[in-house]
Amino acid sequence: MIAATDAPHFSRPGPNLAAGVLALGVHVAFLLLLVVGVSWQTDHPAPVMVDLWEALPVSPTPPVVEPEPQPEPVPPPPPEPVKSVEPPPPAPPVVPRPAPAPEPLPAPRAADIALEKKKAETARLEKLKALQAAEEKALADAAQAEVEAMKRARDQQLAEQKRRELLRQMEEDELMMRMAEESAASELRQAREAEARLVASRRQAEITRAVGQYRDKISATVRGNTRLPADLKGNPEVRFLVRLLPTGEVTDIRRTQSSGNPAYDEAVERAIRKSSPLPLPADREARAAFVPELSFVHRPKE
């Protein structure tokens, strides 16, 4: 029996991860190069006016007027809180007038009556003293009352002032609020207006571009259909007024200015008829430049 021993060694390298990563790197680098390096930017300039056409109602694009920065509504300086009226200086406290000094008593003439006199004297003095005290008390009371009245009046005045101030404050607040509201509304209005203007101008530019483009198309179509007479000399100019249906169908052609070469005039007129329907922009407003009537100028050579 023959048996296969010693199987030969098979070496099969598995997929190499590093190679995969490198391959990926190559592609990413190439893609970046392609995207960053090659920018096929096509910039279509707006079609320029060619002198094939005349008196076309091309409404010029109104210059986009940047909305002028609205002056910040300057809030009026808040009215200075009226300086509180200085309270009148408190009246000087009424000082009770010092009681008049007791009159010097006459010296007793005699000693014996001195005692009696003394007694009487003391009684009188006492009475006087009491009187004096009563007077003083009355005066003090009066002063007290006066001070109190003044204080009350001042309090009242202060309260009144405070109330007035509060009222003024409220009014002011209300005014400020109204002004802020107004300014916000006007800002919004202006922004809206600016946006509308921008949209309108963009639209206008679009229409102008479409008009230019279709003007070129129409002239190319007519030019392609024109069979120039053999005896044509120079670059004569012929003008037509072409009436169009909204579909581009030519309804009527009127020559407004001959080139002087009837055969050439005829040829151009035939070409216009043959080109019917003329290509017209789908946009209604752009079409308004061509319908219902367009003035057409043709020269054999540009």
């Binding site: 070496s11 390298p13 997929p15 571009r209």
Partner: protein, 230 residues
């Protein structure tokens, strides 16, 4: 207004806008390109290693060491050694086996040894050449595939042109640009593949020459050994 008006014809945009067949072709080419680059790197590493290992082995072999000891070492680490070492190992193993059998002439022993070595050599060469056919295929076919995508894209662009009365360049330009990207991708896939294929075929040829020379020389050594012993 034309839809093409004012558009930015960036490459990515063009690729994404392309028609389905063109996109399929592009995807195919991208895959082919990726795979071919993968194999280019795989082969690059493998061949570099093979050359380095062969250099080392030849230095070691001709340094005049003990062949028996070398055989022991090589057969112990079969998985990590190079192509030439495996050839040497297969040849020497066969030689030892045949030597042990009595009554065989030197010629028979040497013929058997050479057959064993040649078998291993073929197998190793096959391993080295794997994936090279893929590179060759990508290199030769992907330009055609890219061209197909381009033709298709241009066809579609011109078909779209038939429906408009006034033919302008702007109406076909994006279509043609997108179609031409397919050709660019085909070339991008093909050029490295062709270069890699040629380069690696040459490298493998040189390695194969070295291995064949080694086989002959080793056979001579073994023959001398066998005659001496007989």
């Amino acid at each position: 207004m034309n839809p093409e008006f004012g558009q930015n014809l960036s490459v990515l945009h063009l690729v994404l806008q392309a028609s389905l067949p063109v996109q399929v072709v592009m995807a195919l080419l991208l895959g082919a390109s990726f795979m071919s680059w993968w194999f280019i790197f795989v082969k690059w590493f493998a061949l570099k290693r093979a050359r380095r290992v062969a250099d080392r082995f030849e230095r070691e072999f001709w340094a005049g060491g003990d062949i028996n000891a070398m055989y022991q070492r090589v057969s112990a680490e079969r998985d990590s050694v190079g192509e030439m070492e495996r050839i040497f190992e297969a040849g020497f193993r066969e030689f030892m086996k045949l030597r042990r059998q009595a009554g065989l002439t030197v010629n028979v022993v040497i013929d058997g040894t050479r057959r064993a070595m040649r078998a291993t050599y073929q197998r190793e060469l096959d391993g080295l050449e794997s994936h090279l056919s893929f590179l060759a295929t990508v290199g030769s076919v992907s330009p055609y595939v890219g061209l197909f995508g381009t033709v298709w894209g241009i066809m579609i662009a011109f078909m779209g042109l038939s429906s408009v009365a006034q033919a302008t360049l702007a109406q076909v330009a994006p279509g043609i640009a997108e179609a031409l990207i397919a050709t660019a991708m085909g070339l991008f896939a093909a050029i490295p593949a062709v270069i890699g294929y040629n380069r690696y075929t040459h490298d493998i040829d040189r390695l194969a020459n070295r291995m064949e020379s080694f086989m002959e020389e080793f056979s001579n050594i073994l023959q001398r050994q066998a005659t001496k012993a007989a």
